[in-house]
Amino acid sequence: MDIAANLFYRYRRFVKVLRIYLLLAGPGLIVMLADNDAGGITTYTVTGAKYGYNLIWFLLLLLPVAYVVQEMTVRLGAVTKRGHAEAIFDAFGPFWGWFSFLDLALVNWLTLITEFIGMTAAMSIFDIPPFLTVIVVSVVMMLMVLQGRYWTWEKIAIFFAVLNLIYIPAAFLVHPSVGEVLAHGLVPNLPGGFNGTLFFFLMANIGTTIAPWMIFFQQSAVVDKGMKEKDIPWGQMDTLIGSAFTVIVAVFLVVVTGTVLYGMNIESAAQAALMLREIDPWLGTLIAIGLFDAGFLGAICISLASSWAFGEVFGWAHSLNLRIREAPWFYACYLLALVTAGGVVLIPGAPLILITLFVQVIAVTLLPAALVFLILLLNNEEVMREYRNTFLQNVAGIAIVGAIIVLSTLYGISTLFPGFIG
C-alpha cells in the first residue's frame, strides 16, 4: 500500500512538474531545435556521408557547449528584462552597440536567404516551384506573428520544433547496426587522421551549433515571454532539454546518411534527400520534410531576432503581444526581412553559393563580440546581483568562448582561403 501511495505521489508530482514546464517551455526548446536550421542539416548530412558514424562523439561534445552559452542568455534576459542588442548599447556604448546591431542585421538577413534556399530546395523535390514556396512560407510566417499573442506564436513554433525530430524515425527506417554506431560513434577518433578536410568539418559542426542570432533571439524571447528571476531554473531546464534534442537530431541524421550514403560525394541535404528517395521513397520524403522544417524554423527565429533588435535599438514597440497598429515598425521589419530574403532566392542566377559562404565569414566577425559581451554582462555584479556567473560558470564559459573564437576564426579564414589548413 505504501509503495502504491508513494508511486502515486511521485506520478502526481511528475505531472505537476511537467505541466509547469510545458507552461514555461519555449525559448530554449525553440532556439536549440532551430539551431538545426537548413545550414545545420546540410552540415550533418554531409558529415555523415563523408565520415560515417565516426564523428558522433564530437557532436555529443557540443551539447554542453550549446547549453553553457545559451543558458547565460536566460539569466541575462530574465534579470535585465532587455534584449542583447539593447544590453550591449547600454553597457558598452554606441560604437559596440552599432557594430553588433548592424552586423547582426546583415548576418541574419544573409542567413535568412540560406533558410529560403533550404526550403525551396526541399520543396522542389515535391515539384513545388520556388516562387510558390517563398510566397506560402512568407504568408504563414506573417500569420504566425499577427495573431497578437507571444504565447500562441510560441506554441506554433514548438510544433515546428518538434517536427524537427522527424530524423529519429528516419534513422530507424535505415536499420543501422547499433553495435557499429556505438563502436565507431562513441569512441573518440579522427577518421583518416587529422587533416585540413577533417578540421574543416569539425569547425563547420561547431559553427552550426553556436550562431550569433541564437544569443539575440533567446534573450529577446525570454524578455517577450515575461520570464522573471524565479523562472530562471525552468528556463535553464528548457535550454538543457533543447540542447539535448538538438544533439539527438544531429546524431540521428548522421546515422541516416552514415548508414546509407557513407562514402558518397554529397554536397547538400536536398541532394541527399533525392538520393535517399531512390533507395526508399519514405526515407527521402522524411529527409526533405525535415529540411523544409529546419529552414522554416530557422527563418521564424532569425527574422524575429532581427525585428526585436531593431525595436530595442530604435525604441519602437517590439513585442509579439502587441497588435500590428501598436507595433507597426516591428512587424514592418519582420515583413521586409522575409520579402527581401525570399526575393533574392527567386532572382535568376543569384550567387546563392557565394552568399552561403559569405554568411560563414560575416558570422565570424560578430560571434566573438557577442560571446565576449555575454560573459562580461554576466559578470556585471551591479546588474546581475546573485544571478551573476559563479567561478565555475566563468571557467566553463571563458574556456568555451575562447575555443569557439579560435575555431570559428580558423573556419572563417579557411572559407576565405581554401587550403589554408592542410
Binding site: 548599447f89 547600454d90 553597457a91 558598452f92 556604448g93 554606441p94 559596440w96 552597440g97 557594430f99 535599438v313 530604435f314 525604441g315 565569414v361 565570424v364 566577425t365 566573438p368 563580440a369 565576449v372 560573459i375 562580461l376 554582462l377 559578470n379 556585471n380 551591479e382 573564437i405 576564426t409 572563417g412 579564414i413 576565405l416 582561403f417
Partner: protein, 68 residues
C-alpha cells in the same frame, strides 16, 4: 507635413534629417557605457578591437587578391 524643399528631394531631405536625429538621439542616450571599466573589461574590449582590425585586414587582403 511641411518639407524644406518641394517634391521627392524635399521629402528625402526630411526623412534623412529625421533618421540622423534619431541616430544622434540613440548615441546621446548611450554615450556613457554603464558597465564598470575594470581591467578585465578594458582588456576584453581591446582584444575585440584588435580582432576586428585583424578581420578587416584579412578581408581587405582577400579583396586585393581577387581584384589582382
Amino acid at each position: 507635413m511641411q518639407y524644406p524643399g518641394q517634391g521627392v528631394r524635399g521629402w528625402l531631405h526630411a526623412v534623412l534629417r529625421g533618421w540622423f536625429a534619431r541616430i544622434h538621439g540613440i548615441n546621446q542616450k548611450y554615450a556613457t557605457p554603464r558597465i564598470h571599466m575594470s581591467p578585465g573589461v578594458r582588456f576584453a574590449l581591446l582584444f575585440l578591437r584588435l580582432y576586428l582590425v585583424f578581420l578587416v585586414l584579412l578581408l581587405a587582403y582577400k579583396f586585393w587578391t581577387l581584384v589582382r
